[in-house]
């Protein structure tokens, strides 16, 4: 079976005041249906650009992006995208932000409210339904950003450092929830993070990117059985082994030569 998503020799450059910046360079990657793939790489290596290319907001300068056997042109609405910035609509309350995708699809109001309420409860935001984004903390906004994508059940979900602005404890709780959700729904997830522990904890496969221009440096499978215990996993010897291998790949990219 062909992969759900594949990138073949994809390049993307930007013109910044006459200077050419190569953000993504001849990148090859394939994601199978139902897979959880995480991407780690140094800041500015083109990770967000990669997701923008996959969802079709940016056209590649060269190369091809194939989704379900078809070359993608324009925005691919089968994909959900949790952006790095929370991008909530400031004139909508929390619950109105969470339910907006269902509103777009014409779902009835009480159905929308019910499903939004469930998700809001799951991420610990109950009681804040009627707050506007500026009345929420950065971490609360980010949780809202995540669940407004989960609510409409896209088949591939892109997540750009979704737990970045959260504290370590909340982060682990949400990692656990995300894994449970993923196991129950068998979605495909492409997840970006700068945290190697998080990358290994969640993934079937971890992709290491080079520093800019971003390329795939190494892909490692994570042979830790599921369901995983996110609270304990980093203590296992299998984890250590994968971690050391990946850190050796990543270190030369993040440390200045």
């Amino acid at each position: 079976m062909p992969p759900l998503l594949s990138l073949n020799q994809v390049c993307r450059e930007f013109q910044v005041r006459g200077r050419q910046v190569v953000a993504v360079d001849t990148l090859d990657l394939a994601v199978e249906e139902g897979e959880f793939v995480t991407v780690v790489g140094p800041s500015g290596c083109g990770k967000s650009t990669l997701l923008n290319l996959v969802v079709g907001l940016l056209p590649p300068s060269a190369g091809r992006i194939v989704y379900r056997g078809r070359a993608v042109e324009g925005i691919n609405t089968a994909i959900g995208y949790v952006t790095q910035k929370d991008n909530l609509l400031p004139w909508r309350t929390l619950v109105e932000n969470v339910e907006i995708a269902l509103e777009i699809r014409g779902a009835a109001k009480n159905e929308r409210r019910r499903r939004a309420g469930d998700l809001i409860g799951q991420v610990g935001l109950s009681g804040f339904e009627d707050h506007y984004p500026h009345e929420l903390s950065g971490g609360m906004r980010q949780r809202a950003n995540i669940i407004r994508t989960l609510i409409y059940d896209p088949e591939l979900i892109l997540m750009d450092e979704p737990f970045g602005p959260l504290d370590a404890q909340t982060r682990i709780v949400l990692q656990d929830q995300l894994l449970k959700l993923w196991r129950a729904s068998r979605k495909t997830i492409l997840f970006i993070t700068h945290d190697l522990v998080e990358a290994i904890t969640l993934a079937d496969r971890v992709v290491v990117m080079t520093s800019r221009p971003g390329r795939v440096k190494h892909i490692a499978a994570v042979p830790i059985p599921r369901p995983r215990d996110v609270y304990q996993i980093h203590m296992s010897s299998e984890f250590r082994e994968v971690y050391n291998k990946l850190w050796n790949e990543l270190r030369p990219e993040v440390a200045p030569a």
Partner: protein
């Protein structure tokens, strides 16, 4: 007492002090022929409200202001949205719009009276030309400034362009439109009155002009006081509507001034 109630009392007090100073100065420091005096003005106002003779003038001026305001605002908002989506056309029209807006409206007023007569129509048109540009510029800037990322988020969710217009572009532009309306309202009233000054047979501007020609400073200042009250009242209404529509925005006093994020 609540902060609002206290503010109201302070405001009343300040107005009272001003009037008292005026009353005291008039007849002692300055001849009341020039500045009249508050007690005379209130007597005059009482008279014209009691016999009802003021209402005809007030109605005409309010009619000119609000009809002109409504037409100017709706057409300004509509053109703002339209041109914000037509890049090339907007660039072609730009110097003309700037030039038209640069014409002093007072220079147009006599022309409008020639074209549209001395009745309310010429004043309505004058008001339209003022309100139109202010709301147009604000709406245009607002639509142009909408965060593209918010639109893209909705596109990815599968929203149609129409849904993006109603769920992102319009709400994001509301603060700009509100500002345009708020700043153009006093100008609308002033334009109607200026139009009446030049040629009219009714209206507050006509009344003030008429009293001035009779050297009745009491009548002139009374008319001006009514105008001032109308402006304050309208401004209060618009501010309340704005506060309601923009309740999602962080208020400056919502966060303490010594916080950083």
């Amino acid at each position: 007492m609540t902060g609002r109630g206290r503010l109201f009392v302070y405001r009343l007090l300040f107005g009272f002090v001003l009037l008292a100073a005026w009353e005291a100065a008039s007849g002692r420091l300055i001849d009341p022929f020039w500045v009249s005096r508050p007690s005379d003005i209130f007597k005059y106002l009482w008279g014209v409200f009691a016999d009802g003779s003021i209402f005809g003038h007030l109605a005409i001026t309010l009619y000119e202001t609000f009809v002109g305001f409504f037409i100017g605002a709706t057409s300004g908002i509509a053109l703002g949205f339209f041109l914000a989506r037509k890049e090339v056309l907007a660039q072609v029209l730009d110097p003309y719009i700037v030039a038209f807006n640069g014409i002093p409206r007072i220079a147009l007023a006599p022309l409008f009276i020639i074209w549209f007569g001395i009745g309310p129509n010429s004043k309505v048109i004058l008001v339209v030309t003022v309100v139109f540009f202010l709301t147009f510029f604000n709406t245009y800037a607002g639509v142009k400034g909408v965060d593209v990322e918010l639109k893209n988020i909705l596109r990815v969710m599968g929203a149609s362009e129409r849904q993006i217009l109603f769920k992102v572009t319009i709400p994001a532009t509301v603060p700009w439109i509100a500002t345009g309306l708020k700043i153009s309202l006093p100008y609308a009233i002033v334009s109607a009155v200026v139009g009446e000054f030049i040629a009219a047979s009714k209206g507050l501007g006509y009344l003030i002009n008429y009293n001035t020609s009779l050297f009745s400073t009491t009548g002139a200042l009374g008319g001006i006081l009514i105008l001032a009250l109308v402006v304050v009242l309208c401004n209060e209404i618009i501010s309340r509507a704005e506060a309601y529509l923009l309740r999602w925005r962080p208020r400056e006093n919502g966060r303490k001034s010594n916080e950083l994020y």
